[in-house]
Amino acid sequence: MSNFINGLLRFRRGPWEMVASILIAAGVVMLMQPFVLSLFTYSFIVTLIGTVMFIFVSHFPE
């Protein structure tokens, strides 16, 4: 866990890609879940942030 936080603080690609991937996955689940309409409403912004973040952080050093 501390490695993960250190990676985030030092702007390393691995942990930041992990955060972006979690955001994208959460956004897609929110988009397609059948339970709460407000989750559907905020799904796109979560996916968009995750996707843009993924493109950006994939240029960070290993």
Partner: protein, 315 residues
């Protein structure tokens, strides 16, 4: 005296490229060859994408080209993301996507595993299994509509024969509870061979020597399956899931031909709904915003999936 055939060959052979392009740097030459591709890519991929993003912030309607186009900010996005009908459409797509991928991977891998065993008529069976994939989705949709007919359909007859139910007592494409499964069955029937072929390529790429070494170490067949077969086929399987996932997310033709999105909007997938908004209701700006939402979703999913695929390949 020189051979005349040699002279002819000399006349036919092109001169070295260095003399023809003398005076042009390597960099300029490279750009000369690459530029047409970049121009075409910009014209047919990038420009429509940027134009769609622009239209998604407007109230443009393509059937009223003379009307003023107003910039309405994020209103299209707000309306789409608070529309319960679109939410239901997303759920129908999720149902279709998850079940088709699960069934196609399970059946496709099983078929590939069986076909990979050497037996008589192996090639004939491979050809027969691959046949559905070669058919047009319009043809498949049309003849499955006949197979699903309650009165004369073969599917209903077989289900009735196996379960004892009256074949005319249910309609696969006419009932709300059954229609989502009807499209899953047809897509699985059509595209399982594709997954099977990719898995077969993976299975055939595993060297026999690995299995022989495992036999020497007295590893059971079960252990060989889990520690050799599955890890080595996994990148191929993931590639198949990626292709089928993207393809099924934008599924249109097969479902339109089969159910037309009905009954009601039970099988109305996002691409069918999007087409209705764009070309039946002519709400171009709204449909553009809808398309951007779908694009970002597929792009995001594909990004993390490709990352996972590369990790599996590196192992």
């Amino acid at each position: 005296m020189s051979d005349p055939s040699e002279n002819r060959a000399g006349a036919i052979s092109p001169k070295p490229s260095t003399s023809r392009f003398r005076g042009i740097s390597d960099r300029a030459l490279a750009w000369t060859f690459v530029a047409p591709t970049i121009v075409i890519l910009l014209a047919i991929n990038i420009f429509p994408l940027i134009w769609t993003i622009y239209l998604s912030f407007t109230n443009y309607r393509v059937n009223r080209p003379n009307r003023d186009v107003d910039f309405i900010g994020l209103r299209n996005y707000e309306r789409i993301l608070s529309d319960s009908d679109i939410w239901i459409t997303m759920q129908a797509t999720a149902h279709f996507l998850i079940w088709t991928i699960v069934l196609q991977v399970l059946i496709g891998f099983t078929l590939a595993y069986l076909i990979n065993k050497k037996f008589k008529g192996n090639d004939l069976w491979t050809t027969i299994i691959v046949l559905p994939m070669m058919l047009s989705p319009a043809v498949v949709g049309n003849f499955w509509t006949f197979l699903y007919q309650p009165q004369i359909g073969l599917f209903n007859y077989v289900v009735g024969f196996l379960t004892g139910a009256d074949p005319s007592s249910f309609s696969m494409i006419g009932e709300v509870a059954l229609a989502p499964w009807a499209i899953v069955i047809v897509d699985t029937w059509m595209w399982t061979p594709f997954v099977m072929l990719i898995c077969l390529a993976g299975l055939r790429s595993i060297p026999d020597s690995i299995y022989e070494a495992a036999e020497c170490d007295r590893a059971s067949k079960w252990r060989q399956f889990w520690t050799i077969t599955i890890p080595m086929v996994l990148p191929f399987l993931m590639l198949a899931v990626l292709f089928r996932g993207i393809e099924n997310f934008k599924m249109f033709d097969l479902v339109v031909q089969l159910t037309g999105g009905g009954p009601g909007s039970t099988t109305e997938l996002t691409s069918i709904n999007l087409k209705r908004e764009a070309f039946e209701k002519w709400r171009t700006g709204y449909a553009s915003a809808y398309a951007i939402i779908l694009f970002v979703t597929v792009f995001g999913l594909a990004s993390i999936y490709v990352k996972a695929l590369n990790k599996v390949k590196e192992r």
